[in-house]
Amino acid sequence: MIMKKYSIFSLLRNSMSYHENWQKNWRSPDPKSEYDVIIVGGGGHGLATAYYLAKECGITNVAVIEKGWIGGGNTGRNTTIVRSNYLWDESAAIYEHAMKLWEGLSQELNYNVMFSQRGLLHLAHNVHDLQEIGRRGNAIHFNGIDSEFLTPAQVKEMVPLINLNCRYPVLGALLQRRGGNARHDAVAWGYARAADAMGVDIIQNCEVTGFNIENGVVKGVETTRGSIKGKKVGVVTAGHSGVMAEMAGFRLPIESFPLQAMVSEPLKPCINTVIMSGAVHVYISQSDKGELVVGAGSDNFVSYSQRGSFDMIDHIISPMVELFPFTSRLRMMRQWGGIVDVTIDRSPIVSKTPVENLYFNCGWGTGGFKCTPGSGHVFAHSLANGEMHPIAQPFSMNRFNTGALIDEGAAAAVAH
């Protein structure tokens, strides 16, 4: 199938037929009996992996197998924040790699992912926070990534509606101007459309129920639509990575927790940047539809229920109302949960596994969306070459045995 490009001309042409003849974004093929690479999980990271495999590694005999529908898991459930202001060099490398791909993504995919570099503020509410943003801000500078320190007056100038003298007054902020938002669904759809156009099979409503492993080498997967052979298998299943690992016969240093988010009724434009606070723990931005998108912490017990605890809503909303008193009578419109795969050091696992030719890309925890292009890119190269991409190497699951953790959890306290 030849992908018809989106342009002003195609828009005009299709308006003639009342927009009823737009080409389908991707096919719905039956699975073939064998693929060079099988990607398990059709979220953003999995679809990006398939796209870069086809685009940059010349491997187009690829299947993306998704249990539900593409982008229906955490890709469609996050708060859409994109940033690369991490403390450690290894994190800076992978998240900045993603940021650079974000910056040209809409053009590259010929699909508007609505990437908006509206700036992202990390607020500091106490002396410790100021020291933390000082340390992290300088580390970010050393890695050649933009970050600026703002005084409370500068924060007020940027975000006029903020209440600086709330219960835990705002004492400063760390700003990444290149940070911002993207349209989460569009990221999945854009990658799917572009990957499909290069011959990648996207197979939805097909659950992987097991791996075919012979003498420690993976040979393919068992699915609800029969068994499919694969020379290499990449598992990108976020919250269910532990379940997949169990099928393959090993354990991961991961626990799965429910994380929830919510949106308000739509408002006129009022917050033109992303506000994050680790200390009072909330992050807020305004979607292009006008809804305030709000998120915060995860529950701390293992659960696959895709619901957050009810009391967590209060923990999310009360700091928002403190920071932005105008939201006190705002009605929240929708609330939902996703299952996040959290490692002890809050850094991902992009790694080979004890089973040969079986690779895992997981552990992105509460902040994987921002790295969708970078994660897919380095994972695709790792799958194609059989050796982990240099940027991915530090994120091996062996680090939990060697002790070479990349401790972003301790570095940034909570906000991810």
């Binding site: 532990g242 991961i254 017990f301 293992v302 605890s309 060697t402 002790g403």
Partner: protein, 101 residues
Amino acid sequence: MLLIECPWCGERDQTEFTCHGEAHIVRPKNPDELTDEQWGDYVFFRSNPKGLHKERWVHDHGCRRWFNVVRHTHTDIVYGSYKPGEPAPEVSEEALKGGKK
């Protein structure tokens, strides 16, 4: 929101408790002899099942005592609590599938 039974205080709201993860992880008796791999496994690796899970909770806004809970991680149904050292309660076939209590 979960309703959790503290073995000493009875059923209380989840907000009175904190979960501390998988139960019955035993500290190795021979720490000097362990390889890095075994240490890593003990410290960081967890079973993280989608199914029945035995986990440690502490009643920190109550009696402040520790105990274990059996819960299904897909349905979040709690099948019972037991004190440290006590055997876990027997669960039915239905409970294994996440069915009713």
